[in-house]
Structure formats: structure tokens, C-alpha cells
């Protein structure tokens, strides 16, 4: 399948990736090439095949409801790009 620039822009917006014009064109080309290769899969009929979600034979993995405080807060805040302990700080979301 061919990926056009508009699709690239839509996907980049979903992934929150800022792309230059040059990058958009290149990605449209590269992704189209990869998806052409991937299209080979359609040769195989999988109507009766269950998707493989987990390769593991294990299920029902749980832990006890035992609370414990990690004590990492101050360490993490100290290394955060911006914080105002005890909070992390971010710029506002500017709505229109």
C-alpha cells in the first residue's frame, strides 16, 4: 500500500512526532516500501487462525494486595526536567 504525505502527517500527529518536510517525504517513500513487503502476508488465509496474543503458556498472574511505599519520589523529582517539589511541572495545554 502506498502511503501519502497526508497519511504521514496524520500518523505523525497521533505519535506526537514533529517532522520536517524532507522527513515527511522520505517517510512516505520508506513506509510505502515496507508496507509493500508486508503485503505478502495477505497470501496466507488466516480466517480460521486465532491471533497469538501471548506466546507464554501462563495465565492469571496476580500479586497480593499489599501496599508498600517506594520512596523514589524525591529522587525522581530531582532528576525531572522541570519540577516544583512535590510536583512535576509542565507547560499548560493551550486550547483554542
Amino acid at each position: 500500500m502506498a502511503i501519502d504525505r497526508k497519511t504521514v502527517e496524520h500518523v505523525a500527529a497521533l505519535a506526537r512526532l514533529g517532522l520536517s518536510d524532507e522527513e515527511k517525504d522520505r517517510l512516505a517513500r520508506e513506509l510505502s516500501g515496507i508496507l509493500d513487503h508486508v503485503a505478502d502476508l495477505s497470501r496466507w488465509n488466516t480466517d480460521q487462525v486465532e491471533p497469538l496474543y501471548h506466546i507464554l503458556p501462563i495465565k492469571n498472574v496476580t500479586r497480593d494486595d499489599a501496599p508498600a511505599r517506594s520512596g523514589v519520589r524525591d529522587d525522581v523529582l530531582q532528576h525531572a526536567p522541570k519540577s516544583r517539589p512535590p510536583f512535576f511541572a509542565v507547560p499548560n495545554v493551550l486550547e483554542e
Binding site: K59, N60, P67, S70, V72, R84, A89
Partner: protein, 483 residues
């Protein structure tokens, strides 16, 4: 408005009453210092992994069963991907195509009749954190928000109703019934102020009698049941206005401004939502056996509707009493503990509904924390029945019991409240009353039987209610006859 009928669906998030978060061991405490209850897992630091809280699964399953859902034989978790600073991993672990439970219903009461509202699904997911908008000054650059992740990862169930709710009042009734059940079974506190119950509403209009659904708006941030009702009312009016003027309703998210009593569009410049759900690779799936379901069902307490019916049938209580007593499981338990000691059911019901619930309410307590133990209340009712004190005095005794936690006999003794049942000690007050009320004596003599009641009242006043009214009436008649 009459040309259209509203269709409402509710999405209710309930926080499960666990001690730790859904996927990590951080404690869940309301009102804790910001970010104290965080760890690498809920902060989404690189490389760490979620591990499912088994108690949360138990509670979620219990809620699903109480809502008459079918528990899935196999369920799994999925990632819901979106960017927001209150979501540290930029995905929420939720359930998409194979949720915990499907196809239930909730029985609701409106205008005295009962109706079933379908429940589409119940699924588990983790909560997000909280953005705190900073007040300017204190060296905070303008345009900064603060983030508190204490709540991130709290275990939630989302209960999605079918679009079968007929309007604002029914929505309110649905929420009341839902909250009652969920609290009853000990799954959540359902405290909207603490955020342990949250509600979004989908609402659309369709021509009356039509089977097709119209375009819906999603109302968010409705932080009380009253606001849900009001927001739905104004949104229904708004949509009716749009349709009647020939316009079209747009599918969108809307907020509710309680001060202005309006709904407003919350469209942002963000890309249209595409959550790109996919199976959470870090969590193996969950297989539920019949035995698991039976065990969870067996652990389920009697639900409010069943209990209400039983209270009517086996205690002979009026429907109203049964409803009030079974509204909270603690109250119903209390009532049954009182009756178990042999107290008369109706008398116990009256006393609990008027005296106990009033005092509990003002003390902010549930019945299981009542300072008056059920056996003490039963004793009190027994003392009234034996004639040792009057019903009126019992209402003075009770508040003291409530304050002190003491048994009724002790309170009565300490406060000298036992009934004056000795005719000789009534002689003086009766003589006084007769002297002060010659008119009433005349009236009685001329055949007005009601006058005796007035005189009894006067004597009771003088004895501060401690006299046995029957004995007073008998003595009064005797004295008037002699005169």
C-alpha cells in the same frame, strides 16, 4: 420537546476498595502529600512492568455479578494510547475487546415502579493522575501546570449502561441504585467528593417512538448526581432547540457549567481520538473457571432489592420502612441484630428510622459504627414495652445512650428517668392541675371526654413526662368523680 424523546447512556467509573494500586504496590490514600504514593511503575519510568492486583480482580468480579453480568471465561488487558501529562506511560491499561464481564442489568425504581436498565459491560482499568493549575506568583512561571500522580494507577471499574435510560430523573435513579449496590457489596465507597465514583453521560434525542438513535453528545465532569440530572436536562433542551430549528446535533464532548447551568463544547485542537488499542503484552490473560465464578457468587452478600423484599415479607414491614432500612447494608444488618433479640420489628423499624438514623447522620457515621449497640437498643424497646418508661422518655434516653454508649438501664437510673407508677406520688401534681383548671373539669363533667386528655397533658408536663399516662387518667377520673 414533546416531539422528541431523550436516550441516555451512562458510563460510571468506580474506584475499587483495595489497599494498593492496580498494577503496583503504592498505597491508595486520599488526601496524601502530592506524588508520595508513586513508584517507578505508576510513574511510567523506563523498563518497569505492571503486575495485576488479585484483590482488584476479586472486587471487580463481585461488582459484575451483583450487576447480573456474565463473567468472561477469558479476559485480557489492552493499552489505550493517548498523550496527556496526567498519563505517565502515555497509555492507559484498560480492557477493550475481551472485558471482564458483559450483558448485565440494574433494577431501578422511578415513580413507584421498577425498571431494568441494561448494562453493556464492566471492565477494569487504571486511573490517571491529576493536573493542578498553579496559582501565579511564588516564582511560578505563568502558564505552568503541576502534576500529582498519587491517583495514577488506582483500580477502577467502568460500568457502561446500554442507551436505555429514558431521561434525567431515570439517570439519577440509575446512579442511586448503582451506588447502593456497589457500596452494599463492599466494592467501593462511591464517594464522589473523593473521586471514587465518576460519571459521564451520553445523550441523544430521537423522534418520539422511533427505534433509531440520534447523534449523541458526551457530557463529562459531572461531579454529583444532581448535576448529572441538571446537565442532562439542559442538554436535552439544547438538542431539542437545535433539532426544532432544523439544525443538526454534532457528535462531541461537552462540559457542564453548574454555575451558569449550561453545557459547552469541549472540542480541542487535538487530533481526533484514535486510541490504537492493542493487547497489553506485559500482562498475560486471565482465564476464569466456573468454580471461580461460583466462589465469587457465594461471597456476594444479599443485594438490596432482595433484602428489601425479604424485610417486607418476613418482618411484615411496610414498603417504605423496608426501603429505608435496606438502603445501606449496615443499617439493615443493625435492624436485623435488634430484631434477633426478640424486639418487635415495626417498633424497631420506627425507632431506627427516626432516632438512630438521625443521630448517625449528624455524627457522620454508618450503622456499623453506631455507639448504641443493637442489643442496647433492643433492651430499650423492651423497657418501653414493659411500661417501665414511656415511649416519650425513651426518646430522651436514646441520645444519652448515643453519646455515652451506655446501656439503657444505666442511663435511666443515672438520670432518674424511670416511670412514676405509684399513685401516691401523683396526688400532689393532680391536685395542682385540678385547682388550676376548673373550666376543664366543668367541660369533662358536661360530657366532653377530650377534656381529660388536656388534663393528662398538664399532669405529664408537671412530672416532666415521667408519669404513666394511663395511671394519670385513671387517677384524674377518680378525683373528679369524688369532687
Amino acid at each position: 420537546m414533546s416531539a422528541y424523546e431523550p436516550v441516555v447512556g451512562l458510563e460510571v467509573h468506580v474506584q475499587l476498595k483495595t489497599a494498593s494500586k492496580l498494577f503496583c504496590a503504592c498505597p491508595l490514600e486520599f488526601g496524601q502529600e502530592p506524588n508520595l504514593n508513586t513508584c517507578p511503575v505508576c510513574l511510567g519510568l523506563p523498563g518497569v512492568l505492571p503486575v495485576l492486583n488479585g484483590r482488584a480482580v476479586e472486587l471487580a468480579m463481585r461488582a459484575a455479578l451483583a450487576l447480573n453480568c456474565r463473567i468472561s471465561e477469558f479476559f485480557k488487558f489492552d493499552r489505550k494510547n493517548y498523550f496527556y501529562p496526567d498519563l505517565p506511560k502515555a497509555y492507559q491499561i484498560s480492557q477493550y475487546d475481551l472485558p471482564l464481564a458483559l450483558d448485565g442489568f440494574l433494577e431501578i425504581q422511578t415513580n413507584g415502579h421498577s425498571r431494568r436498565i441494561g448494562i453493556e459491560r464492566v471492565h477494569m482499568e487504571e486511573d490517571a493522575g491529576k493536573l493542578v493549575h498553579a496559582e501565579p506568583g511564588h516564582g511560578v512561571p505563568p502558564g505552568t501546570s503541576f502534576v500529582d500522580y498519587n491517583r495514577v494507577g488506582a483500580p477502577l471499574i467502568e460500568i457502561v449502561s446500554r442507551p436505555e435510560i429514558a431521561g434525567p430523573a431515570e439517570a439519577h435513579a440509575y446512579l442511586d441504585a448503582l451506588k447502593q449496590i456497589v457500596r452494599y457489596i463492599g466494592v467501593s465507597d462511591c464517594d464522589m467528593e473523593k473521586g471514587s465514583l465518576r460519571c459521564d453521560a451520553n445523550v441523544s434525542l430521537r423522534p418520539a417512538g422511533s427505534g433509531k438513535l440520534g447523534v449523541k453528545a458526551e457530557l463529562k465532569n459531572l461531579n454529583s448526581f444532581k448535576f448529572v440530572e441538571k446537565a442532562l436536562e439542559v442538554e436535552i433542551d439544547r438538542q431539542a432547540g437545535v433539532l426544532e430549528s432544523g439544525g443538526r446535533v454534532v457528535q462531541e464532548t461537552r462540559g457542564y457549567d453548574a454555575a451558569k447551568n449550561i453545557t459547552y463544547s469541549q472540542r480541542s485542537k487535538e487530533e481526533a481520538h484514535d486510541y490504537r488499542y492493542f493487547p497489553e503484552p506485559d500482562l498475560p490473560g486471565f482465564a476464569v473457571s466456573m468454580q471461580d465464578i461460583e466462589r465469587a457468587r457465594a461471597a456476594l452478600p444479599e443485594l438490596p432489592a432482595v433484602r428489601r423484599a425479604r424485610f417486607e415479607a418476613s418482618y411484615g414491614l411496610p414498603a417504605y420502612d423496608a426501603a429505608v432500612l435496606t438502603a445501606e447494608s449496615a443499617t439493615a444488618d443493625y435492624f436485623e441484630a435488634v430484631v434477633r433479640t426478640g424486639a418487635d420489628a415495626k417498633k424497631a423499624s420506627n425507632f431506627i428510622m427516626t432516632e438512630l438514623l438521625r443521630d448517625l447522620k449528624s455524627a457522620g457515621l454508618a450503622a456499623d459504627r453506631s455507639p448504641v449497640r443493637p442489643e442496647h437498643l433492643a433492651d430499650l424497646l423492651q423497657i418501653v414495652a414493659s411500661g417501665e418508661i414511656s415511649g416519650k422518655i425513651s426518646k430522651d434516653v436514646f441520645p444519652i445512650m448515643f453519646q455515652t454508649g451506655k446501656p439503657p438501664k444505666e442511663v435511666i437510673r443515672e438520670h432518674g428517668l424511670s416511670l412514676i407508677s405509684d399513685a401516691s406520688s401523683l396526688a400532689a401534681p393532680i391536685a395542682e392541675v385540678l385547682k388550676e383548671n376548673p373550666k376543664a373539669i366543668e367541660d369533662f363533667k358536661s360530657g366532653k371526654q377530650a377534656a381529660i386528655g388536656f388534663l393528662v397533658g398538664q399532669v405529664m408536663k408537671k412530672t416532666r413526662g415521667q408519669a404513666d399516662p394511663g395511671l394519670v387518667a385513671q387517677e384524674l377520673r377518680k378525683k373528679i368523680g369524688q369532687a
